[in-house]
Each structure stands twice: as C-alpha cells, then as structure tokens.
C-alpha cells in the first residue's frame, strides 16, 4: 500500500523534520515496515553525503564493529583520494553516517568509488539534500536520527508496506536519483516495466542498489535531467514511459513535484496554501500539520504539478 507525503514552504525555512514525522506517523497504518525522509536544509558550500555500511537486520559477525570502523575510514580515505577535502564524518546510527566535504568534481565517479567498499550504499549526495531511512515507523526513525529539529524548506517522506522487495534500508524510500545531485523520489504503486527500464538504464551506466521497482523512477528522472530536460518535462515524459500504477513525488534543490498515472489508481490529496503546499496519500496526514479546516482536492489522472520554494 505505502504512504507518501510532501511539504514545501514557499516563505522560507520551517520545521520540515518535525512536520514530516507528524505526516508520516499519521499514515503508519499504510506501511509499518520502514520510513524514509528526503529533507532539504539550508544549501551549504560543502557536499553532504549520507551513506550506510550495513543493514540493521544483518546478523553481526565476530568483527562487525571493527569492519564497519575499517570501512568508515576507507570511505574517508577514498574521498580524499578522489580529490575531496573532508570536513567531517559523523556516525548517525550504528551503521549510517553523514559526511561533509568540499568537492568540485563529478559526483558519479565519487559515488561509484565509495560504493565499491563492501556493504556501502550512498543514500544521498548534494548540497542541500539529506536522505534518512531506516526500519520501523516514522517516529522511531526520527528519534534515532534526531530529525525533529531539522529545519528546511521542503521535504518528502514515505512509509513502506513492502510488496515487491525485501524489508531493508536498500528497499526503503526515498531514492536518491543516482548520480544526480540533490534529487530524490518517493513512490506509491507498482511498475510493471521495471526490468525493461532497469536493463536500459544499466546499459547507460547507472547502478541500482535495490530490487525495488521505485528506484527506476529516480534514476530515470536523473538521466533526463542530466540531458538538460526540465523537471516538469521529464515527469510528463515518465507518464508515457513508465507502465503500471503510480503516484510519485520528486524533490530537487528548489522544487517539489507530483505525478499521477493515467488511471489515477493511487491516491493523493493536495492542499495549496498561501505559503505552504502539503500533499499526502491521505488527508489525515495533511491535518497532522494543518489542523484547521482547509481546502484540498485529488489531482486528476496524468497530472504533473511542480512547486518551487
């Protein structure tokens, strides 16, 4: 089933971390397997990289702790080798980390080089984007990663009921649009031409971290954006190219967009306020941040909408 939510403040930063937690937690019944956030803070000079070195449901063997520490140092050393000036690498949980560094070069070789370390997955890369995802409900993840104090302009989130792939962090949304800076996607639905697109995109040199069909959307959009296509055009094109039922949300450094398939098979409720746009699978999620009476509607089939902060 899954639940998705998005929020964008058009009048400057707000408490998007706490707001997104409230939205996702009110949709806990739609997916208790994992929860994920893509949050946009104040843009920084530094590149922010979120990565993990193991999965929470992985059994820890005799040198688990040492191996993670070794691999964390390896990430740092590889960042330096590829030309990045590392600012800091902080442990966010036992297996997830947040690195900040100065770097001017291409992101793809950097991501590929770092992900070559066993067990390593880059969750997000960019100057403003931070993806946090883990098993459990939204409140559990927010507490674990201290997201309630995260301030920013926009965010999307996802609560997952796993149907197409495993319950692990790799299968959790949002997906970073590898290797494109500051783009992330959450999706509710199933894509039926997943394998076709995965093969096509892999031939073009893209990597996939999971068996989850939703990852296609992120990588598909990233490829279009890299060609110079605008976000809105890329999303409209995706309605033709992707087969199946879907409602997805996409975020970039300064905008948030939604797209709905031709059959309008998956729900989405939208509220457009004067300085805030909130959208979610269920109205109760919007009510969690806007308790007063509001106007809202369901976007129609094949609709693509984009808002900027």
């Amino acid at each position: 089933m899954c639940g998705i939510a998005g929020i964008i403040h058009t009048d400057g930063p707000g408490d998007v971390g706490a707001e997104m937690t409230k939205m996702l937690q009110s949709m806990k019944h739609r997916g208790p397997d994992s929860a994920g956030y893509a949050l946009y803070g104040e843009p920084s000079e530094l590149v922010v990289m979120r990565f993990k070195l193991a999965d929470p449901n992985e059994t820890s063997d005799f040198d688990y702790t040492e191996r993670l520490e070794r691999n964390r140092r390896e990430v740092e050393s590889r960042l330096s080798k590829i030309g990045a000036t590392v600012d800091r690498v902080e442990g966010e949980s036992a297996y997830a980390y947040r690195a900040t560094f100065r770097y001017e070069g291409e992101l793809k070789p950097l991501a590929d080089y770092v992900e070559d370390i066993p067990g390593c997955e880059v969750l997000s890369l960019g100057h403003s984007l931070e993806i946090v995802k883990d098993l459990g409900d939204a409140q559990t993840v927010a507490d674990q990663y201290r997201l309630d104090r995260f301030r920013g302009t926009h965010a999307i989130g996802h609560v997952r009921m796993a149907t197409e792939s495993d319950v692990d962090i790799a299968g959790a949304h949002p997906y970073w649009a590898y290797p494109f800076s500051d783009v992330a996607v959450v999706h509710n639905g199933q894509l039926t031409n997943y394998h076709q697109w995965r093969r096509r995109l892999e031939r073009n040199g893209h990597r996939f971290q999971s068996e989850c069909d939703s990852e296609i959307i992120a990588v598909y959009l990233a490829e279009r954006l890299a060609d110079g296509t605008s976000l809105e055009t890329a999303m409209k094109q995706s309605l033709e190219d992707l087969d199946g039922v879907f409602t997805y949300l996409v975020v970039t450094e300064d905008s948030l967009g939604m797209a709905k398939d031709a059959m309008a098979a998956k729900p989405l409720v939208l509220h457009e306020g004067e300085d805030l746009v909130a959208l979610a699978s269920e109205e109760s999620a919007i009510r969690a941040v806007l308790p007063h009476e509001i106007d809202s509607y369901d976007p129609y089939e094949s609709e693509v909408l984009v808002w900027s902060r």
Partner: protein, 267 residues
C-alpha cells in the same frame, strides 16, 4: 519479490477480534450533549469506532434524530452503516469510506471527503459541500449523493441505483461498469467515461474527454430535462444551459451466446 508478513495488530496499535473488527471492546463514549431531539459531540479525541458507536447510541438507543459531529479531522470510516432515518451533520472533512453502507440517513458533510464516500449506500441522502476523492458512490444502490465540488476518478463505479450529482468536474473512468442509476455531472468529465457500462444514464453539462468502450450518446428527452431540473433544484445547484445524455450501446451484451467450447457440448 519476497512475500512480506502483513502488519500485525500490534504494529497498528489497534486490537482486533477474530473477525477483524477493530477495538471489539470499545463502548460508546457518551460524550454528546443532548438537547431535545438533537445532539452534538466533538470527535477530535475519539477513534473512528468510538465515533460510530456514539452515533449508534444516540440514534438507536436515545432516539435522537439530529446529530452534529465536530472536528472529524479527516478520519476514515465515519458515520457508516447507519440504518435509520436521521439527520447527521459532519462539521469538517472525512477520510476514506465516509458515510458508507447507509440505509436511510441524511448526512451533510461541510468539508471534503476522501475515496469511496457513500459506497454501497442503500437509501438516504449524502451531501458534500467541497470536493470528493475517487470511487465516489461506488456500488451505490439507492438514494442521492451530491458533491458540490469536484470528484476524482471512477465516480459511481459499479453503481446499481440512485443518483450521483456533481457540481464540478469528474475524473477518468466515470461510471465504469455502472449497472443502473443516474449520474448528473455539471462540469467536464475525464477520459473513458461510461466504460463497459451495462445500463443507467450519465448526464454531462460540460465536455467529455473521451467515451469508454460501448458508451454512446443518446437523445435528451423531456423526462430527462424534468429529472435534471428537479434534482438540481432540490439541492439548489446551478444548472448548466445544456446537458448531454450518455447510455450503454449494448454492443457487449453477449450473455445468451455460448462460448465455442460450450457450443460443442450442446451439439
């Protein structure tokens, strides 16, 4: 593609009995202020089941005929399964499956509703002042369902009776597989309208993006005009100048024809 365990009741924080009924031990919270034949209560801190139990207590046990529910907070499945003549005002918006399975009540919702409002309504009236989601009036069998705003996709899917009136626009696959009843849509309708409909009629005041399989336009008769005037008059809605009527083309009616394999058997 690994099959996953469905979420347990513990995950959801809601206890269910062996039939799947949520909160089986819940009792009506008895929070309503009753004055004469009318009652009012605040739903902000109540679960959907508690709201429904309170409504049933008031209507069936206390004989109250007018109830106002405040702060519904877009909760799902409120005011469902009410089988008596009564008048209910929901002061706000509902989530999914609002006012479903009713037989008799007049329910007025001042806000918006989510998917599947008034699904399987047997009789009565449901009026929504703002917009509605998809599957509005699904499998409805009787009564009037009025949405003053816009509705999503698949309005009146599998409709078996009654009248759906929409003041605004409707999404794709409106009237999909409808079997009887009427839909009056004052605005525009999305693609695939009346796809695979068996019977019934859809009246459209605006434009139709595309017609679904076996849906054809029919002539508007004086009886149709009378119906449109009457229904839109009752609910004080603006009547578009012209309406078009759409019905089933009955080209897919193959019920009496045998399949090739069956034909062999008969011969």
């Amino acid at each position: 593609m690994v099959a996953m365990n469905p979420p347990t009741d513990q995950d959801r924080g809601v206890r269910r009995d062996i039939r799947g009924l949520a909160e089986p031990d819940a009792e009506a919270p008895k929070v309503a202020r009753v004055e004469g034949g009318t009652a009012t209560f605040d739903a902000a801190d109540l679960s959907p089941r508690q709201v429904n139990l309170e409504l049933r207590r008031l209507i069936y046990d206390e004989g109250v005929r007018e109830v106002t529910v405040e702060n519904p907070g877009a909760k799902h499945s409120l005011a469902v399964g009410l089988l008596a003549r009564c008048r209910i005002t929901i002061d706000g918006s509902l989530g999914y499956f609002g006012a479903t399975l009713g037989d008799g009540p007049e329910i007025h919702i001042t806000g918006r509703v989510g998917w599947s409002v008034a699904e399987n309504m047997m009789s009565g009236v449901v009026v929504i002042d703002k917009n509605a989601g998809s599957l509005t009036g699904a499998a409805m069998r009787g009564g009037d369902l009025v949405v003053r705003g816009h509705v999503g996709a698949r309005t009146g899917i599998d409709q078996k009776g009654g009248t759906i009136v929409v003041g605004g626009n409707a999404g794709s696959m409106t009237g999909f597989m409808m079997q009887r009843g009427r839909q009056i849509i004052c605005g525009d309708v999305g693609p695939g309208m009346g796809d695979s409909m068996y019977d019934g009629a859809i009246y459209v005041g605006g434009s139709v993006a595309t017609l679904g399989v076996d849906c054809i336009e029919a002539e508007l008769t004086p009886d149709d005009e009378e119906l449109l005037d009457r229904k839109l008059g009752i609910y004080r809605m603006d009547r578009p100048d012209t309406f078009r009527k759409f019905v089933c083309g009955k080209q897919l009616y193959n019920y009496d024809n045998l399949e090739p394999s069956e034909r062999k058997l008969v011969l």
